[in-house]
Symmetry: C2
Subunit: 170 residues, 2 copies
């Protein structure tokens, strides 16, 4: 089971980025996202996505992150542009354990680097926590996130032109 922990979330500045982080977590195979700052609006957005597109992805916000990190039974991965190369680190992760993936916004406290079992970088150029999480989960799941069935009311069928959407009434 994969949980994403989003730290340093500020409602006004980060609302869209954190929403995108949550959507990536959901689409790329995580089971849950935890956000440090309480943000009802993001919770509602994600539940509305679940309702339409399916799955049982969980979201919890307004959480004391120190407790989550200290009590975590499993592996802690921290995604940071300062970390060890993805290709080197990913092989070392024990896939049988639950994983907590920490993604920060702007500056991250030194404590996080210490508590993480793995500090991992997705390249060493600045880009985005959204892309870092997506690339990490894509590599970690070996692309299997694409096979996940969400069984939602709405299902999008791949097509070369236009849109093909199946809408199932419940």
């Amino acid at each position: 089971m994969i949980t994403v922990l989003r730290i340093g979330h500020r409602i006004s500045r980060d609302k869209r980025i954190t929403t995108h982080v949550a959507l990536v977590a959901r689409a790329f195979g995580a089971s849950k996202i935890i956000i440090d700052t309480k943000d009802k609006k993001i919770e509602d957005t994600i539940y509305s996505i679940n309702k339409r597109f399916g799955g049982n992805f969980e979201i919890e916000s307004g959480v004391v992150t120190k407790k989550i990190i200290n009590n975590w039974k499993g592996t802690i991965v921290h995604l940071t542009m300062y970390g060890e190369e993805l290709n080197k680190s990913i092989k070392k992760i024990d896939k049988s354990k639950d994983m907590l993936i920490i993604v920060g916004a702007e500056k991250v406290r030194p404590l996080i680097y210490e508590k993480a079992d793995f500090n991992i970088s997705i390249g060493n150029q600045p880009h985005s926590e959204v892309s870092a999480l997506a690339i990490f989960l894509d590599k970690f799941t070996k692309g299997l996130w694409q096979k996940k069935k969400f069984n939602g009311k709405l299902e999008i069928l791949p097509t070369d032109k236009g849109k093909r959407v199946i809408s199932k009434d419940s």
Copy 2:
């Protein structure tokens, strides 16, 4: 040469998402981003990143996109959750041609679907244009974006704990 075209950019709503799209374009091997709406602040952010972290990634904003699309000599890829599966489409793209990758914000006009040579989806669940672009460029370049040298004043060296940064004065 890869150019990213960001359409539907609204300054107040999208400033951080579009900045992240631009940073992903830069980090994952594109040469340039074009943004439909003029946004001096994002331009400044990207030039400041270039100055510190190197490379000659270009940014242009406030552009008539219709002209860009109609005059494009090369391949046009449109990333959309409604598109054809990535794994199927990516093989068909001629790598010798210049590529324009269109990424929208919210709703995209039907014209874009028609003008694109390839409408490609990165999974068929909603996530983010930031992650879609990153995954596409990672697959398209077969991970080679990680090898690109930026030769910036600041260079980050991968490390398992803490931060290792080389700062070169020019």
